[in-house]
Subunit: 330 residues, 2 copies
Amino acid sequence: MPPILRTVVALVAILLVSPAFAQESDPLPSWNDGPTKQAIIDFVTKVSEPESGDYLPPQDRVATFDNDGNLWAEKPVYFQLLFAIDRVKALAPEHPEWKDKQPFKAAIEGDMKTLAASGEKGIAELVMASHAGMTPAEFQQIVSDWLATAEHPRFKRPYTDLVYQPMLELLSYLRDKGFTTYIVSGGGIEFVRNFSEAKYGIPPAQVVGSSIKTKYEVVDGVPTVMRLAEMNFIDDKDGKPIGITEHIGQRPIFASGNSDGDYQMLDWTTAGEGPRFGLIVHHTDAEREYAYDRDSKVGRLDKALTDAPEKGWVVVDMKNDWKEMFPPKE
Amino acid sequence: MPPILRTVVALVAILLVSPAFAQESDPLPSWNDGPTKQAIIDFVTKVSEPESGDYLPPQDRVATFDNDGNLWAEKPVYFQLLFAIDRVKALAPEHPEWKDKQPFKAAIEGDMKTLAASGEKGIAELVMASHAGMTPAEFQQIVSDWLATAEHPRFKRPYTDLVYQPMLELLSYLRDKGFTTYIVSGGGIEFVRNFSEAKYGIPPAQVVGSSIKTKYEVVDGVPTVMRLAEMNFIDDKDGKPIGITEHIGQRPIFASGNSDGDYQMLDWTTAGEGPRFGLIVHHTDAEREYAYDRDSKVGRLDKALTDAPEKGWVVVDMKNDWKEMFPPKE
């Protein structure tokens, strides 16, 4: 080692052991002190400190997060459904047949009751009509344009402002401690990828989600991937462990969700050997956000809430555990 | 900034501009100097140097690599097929019906001619019988056990020794220059994941490949992912751009393959806007490895070789471009 390098190494070493550096600042400033925050910090500390008996190497530190209602809000309905409705409205002039055909008629007229009554099948029809027939890059542009202009009906803010500040801090904290963070969403994989890097620091390749099929074709000599109006994979309930197996190739040690759609991901994650952590975000704050659980149509949290104590899953009480809800307006 | 930190920063700065550091060592020592090596270095340099007119940010630097015949050898046949045959032999006592049933009979008797005649359908039957009915973790153990003991018929070395030293250097070089490296293999995703981290430095989540379906079920109270005897996705030809879209979510800027199964990946990658690189590994070295291309059943390279000049793909002549073939025996 050249002398100058030796000097630098020595100085860095001195710096790292100095009290000023050893004293870490609060990694979760928007979380109120209490058992929830402490449980998270205890877990992260024990798996990331080599001298801990529960230490796991960084490659084992995989954390998966549901998106809707877990990283951003999901009321009055999933934001992606609002996107699909706006998209159907925008495309309506090219589809005169839609004005007499459900669920398109309901979407165009903003008749949410009829739309809801059309069920999963109706909503799937809306999604297919609005999400297919273009390349992934063209779809990204459409989503970007919508997110840049659409506004949440209650909060009067862009949808991407309605990400939970405490969860952003949790994602950063985990990454600082050597975790790899993934989104595992029932929502569309390409839709979520649109903002996952900018909003959550999660790159496109670390998003797992529902998808439609794509087709490869050479159009006028140009190699093209085209989005098809056909479901490929539904990343919800049983689909979450399956999607994780396919995309990530290993079982997470940390999983976070907010609804019964996350039950299987939480159960499979925490049933593994060694240290495991299951986190449930419980919507308890009607004033700052929404309060709902067992009876909600969107984001129903029933069985997972009942089984949480027995399974050892930590339940976030949004009203009491979180100091802040959304990031401040810019 | 505290004074001690200022001192360290100053020293690091001095160190970084010192001539000893500026002079980089050869990043590709097993590549002979010449146009192939130079083309790779020129491309990597121009996309990773901020002052270059072709600079791309690290998140755009996605590189995808075929595996069989591109990162490791694939002769006499794909190593995964040899694994499937050995596995069928090992399971044969539990399946007395196999000794009169093709393609199992041929596999058990080592009758490669009959096996080859059974075609894709026959090989798929072998794979299903040998790769399904267990959890991904159990499958990993079976693959590990096989790789630890099986030996290549010609080289008398473990299959995982038959990785190309020059390609290992290329993977490292790209990562050092801010690329993210992925495997995009026609082989089974879980099979390749078994050794991708240890041999290539590519973690399981950065492997895209063919897959069988999995099922989530709770067995005796234990949440379990089970591998099913049903194809899910074939990551070959058209499947490669589709698999990349699904898993990675962005078009690579660098792709490397060695057969017509990689044509679509190469074509789609290099048809994108901005700087792009397509690399073809041409097997020209019968002495140190194998020589084959247009007429080979395994790893046929025909159309991609014909179109390479027009498409601007760089063709590696293994015999002349590579100083070393495999890593030295330990």
